[in-house]
């Protein structure tokens, strides 16, 4: 198809240009045809569920798919649902411990393996390895390692007098264990992203600071940290969203503790799952889903606004 509207020299030589709109229309048609399968799929399997959550939250749904309109009852129920607030508390505790500690550990690892030393590639791979294994396997392995009295971890801690501690049976320790295991699972992934960010910082900047007599801490504080901010922002947002709504907040909990003991590891997404698929309260679960989506939209908007999208152009 000749295309005389284009500034290509070869085109100018072509005779008999057909009307421009044909070409445009053809391109547009091709565009829609190419995008359609993915767009329709996303609308059915992501968009529709989001809208549906809002609709279904106004109904009481029984196990056989019978819907009864109940208005805002599901939302009123939330206020008085002690177990829900317990799971909100669990999730928040999980987020405020897992996100910062995980970030510091990942950044430490990234700085450690940033420059070459013999075997650095293998070391990076070993840090990343847990992330390749599924969360189900991770859950099973750690449950095995933590088995009361017999597991490898209690056995190793016996000399220091901690061998009889029950890691997954004690509400105070179960959530802590979940945090540690989550960090073990995610740190290699975050390390890789931070490593990418570190590699983008020109070596000359640090060299210049070194020549000026800056200590290692000063070089980190005044050279690396400011330049690493966009990457750090991405990692922090990612791990926060992952901690609130991600798979590790479900898969790990499901395999490791089933939310116990005494609800101490029941995260919000695990609680929603239970409401829907253990108690068949689909309507209530949809209302909870709506609340989580609303929370996410507001939280993301706030974070985005507060950080100018993580760009930090100023200062």
């Amino acid at each position: 198809m000749p295309r005389c509207s284009d500034p290509l020299p070869a085109c100018g030589a072509r005779p008999a240009a057909p009307p421009v709109w044909t070409r445009r229309r053809r391109e547009a048609l091709a565009g829609y045809a190419f995008v359609a399968p993915d767009l329709i799929g996303l609308l059915i399997f992501v968009g529709l569920p989001m809208v549906l959550a809002l609709g279904v939250s106004l109904f009481s749904v029984d196990g056989f798919g019978g819907y009864t309109f109940v208005g805002l009852d599901n939302f009123r129920q939330m206020a008085a649902d002690a177990q829900l607030w317990q799971s909100v508390k669990v999730t928040l505790t999980y987020v405020v411990t897992f996100v910062p500690i995980g970030f510091v550990v990942s950044l430490g690892l990234a700085l450690l393996v940033r420059d070459h030393f013999p075997g650095v590639g293998l070391v990076r791979t070993m840090f990343f390895l847990p992330h390749v294994i599924s969360l189900v396997v991770v859950g099973v392995v750690w449950q095995f390692l933590l088995v009361d009295k017999q597991g490898a971890v209690p056995a190793l801690l016996r000399p220091v007098g901690l061998g009889e501690v029950s890691f997954l049976g004690n509400p105070a320790l179960a959530l802590g264990s979940l945090v540690v295991i989550s960090i073990w699972f995610l740190m290699g992934y975050q390390m890789l992203i931070l490593l990418g960010g570190l590699k983008d910082i020109p070596k000359e900047y640090e060299e210049a600071a070194r020549v000026d007599g800056a200590t290692a801490w000063q070089r980190f504080r005044h050279v690396i940290w400011p330049l690493l901010r966009p990457t750090s922002f991405f990692v922090l947002v990612n791990s926060t969203v992952g901690a609130v709504t991600g798979l590790q907040a479900f898969d790990l909990v499901y395999v490791l503790t089933k939310g116990g003991p005494a609800g101490s590891t029941s995260t919000v997404v695990f609680y929603i799952y239970q409401q829907a698929f253990t108690f068949n309260n689909y309507g209530y679960a949809a209302a909870l889903t709506t609340a989580v989506v609303a929370f996410l939209v507001v939280a993301t908007g706030l974070m985005f606004g507060a950080t100018k999208g993580g760009r930090f152009d100023v200062g």
Binding site: E27, V137, L247, V269
Partner: protein, 265 residues
């Protein structure tokens, strides 16, 4: 820190990191009655692995996982590449809006929409079918987004040459763009395969039928059934992790590249 000190710290931390996985491997080879002994096993045995391979339908679970993971990966790559090409290159009204809509779905993770997605799948008759395991897993904006960013960097001149040769849009995409994007397609293939092989929540929700269990659901079921028969549960996890490790070893460099770029975009 001196190089030697950093190396030493790196080796030690790496050893601690992989210790649980090494422990798993050793435990699987121990006789059942020595499973919890922190000592060198008296002998090594394949009994646990053989039991799982012969007495538990782990082969069936792995086959299900393989079918679903490969199907999702192939279909997703084709559809995402087409959509990404259109969004990066073709001009049509509403392109920006469509792109924004697609990107905004990145905010939503599966656990968040699980319940309504289950209701949609039920209405469509997708529960307890392979289609139900495959279809919802295909549509994810991440791949589209990454491919689009990549396609923006392909020189327009190459396509224009194909245009002059009389290629339509489909052939320009298939014969020019796709071959040029092999590296990123390979990266995404590793990523998609691993994600789907490791998927647990949706397969758990979408199937009740034991014959449709994917491997992660199979392990979780074993964990429930065999309770304290740890040797068998652990053996099953090792068997299930083998394809993951193979995919990882084969595609390590690609995977690492994909993860690094996803952080920079």
């Amino acid at each position: 820190m001196s190089v030697r000190l950093r190396a030493l710290a790196g080796y030690m931390l790496a050893a601690i990191t992989v210790a649980p996985l090494v422990w798993l491997l050793v435990s699987v080879l121990k006789p059942a009655d020595e499973l919890f002994q922190v000592a060198v096993p008296s002998r090594l045995t394949l009994d646990n692995l053989l039991y799982v391979l012969t007495e538990v339908p782990i082969g069936r679970y792995m086959l299900n996982s393989a079918v679903v993971s490969v199907a999702v990966t192939v279909v997703a790559l084709v559809l995402h590449s087409m959509a990404a090409y259109a969004l990066a290159r073709l001009r049509f009204p509403g392109r920006q809006v469509i792109f924004s809509v697609i990107v905004s779905t990145l905010l939503v993770s599966l656990p968040v929409i699980l319940v309504p997605l289950f209701l949609v799948a039920r209405q469509l008759g997708l529960l307890d079918t392979y289609a139900g395991l495959i279809l919802p897993a295909i549509f994810h904006a991440f791949g589209i987004f990454l491919l689009r960013q990549y396609y923006l960097t392909i020189p327009r001149e190459l396509e224009e040459a194909a245009d002059l040769d009389g290629c339509g849009y489909f052939r320009r995409w298939w014969q020019v763009v796709v071959p040029l994007s092999r590296p990123i397609l390979a990266s995404l293939a590793v990523l998609f395969f691993l994600a789907n092989w490791n998927a647990f929540l949706w397969p758990l929700t979408a199937t009740r039928e034991p014959d449709l269990r994917m491997v992660q659901v199979g392990i979780a079921t074993l964990q429930g059934q065999y309770g304290s028969a740890w040797n068998y549960v652990l053996a099953a996890t090792v068997v299930a992790a083998v394809p993951t490790l193979i995919a990882f070893v084969l595609g390590q460099r690609r995977l690492v590249e994909a993860i690094k770029t996803s952080g920079l975009k």
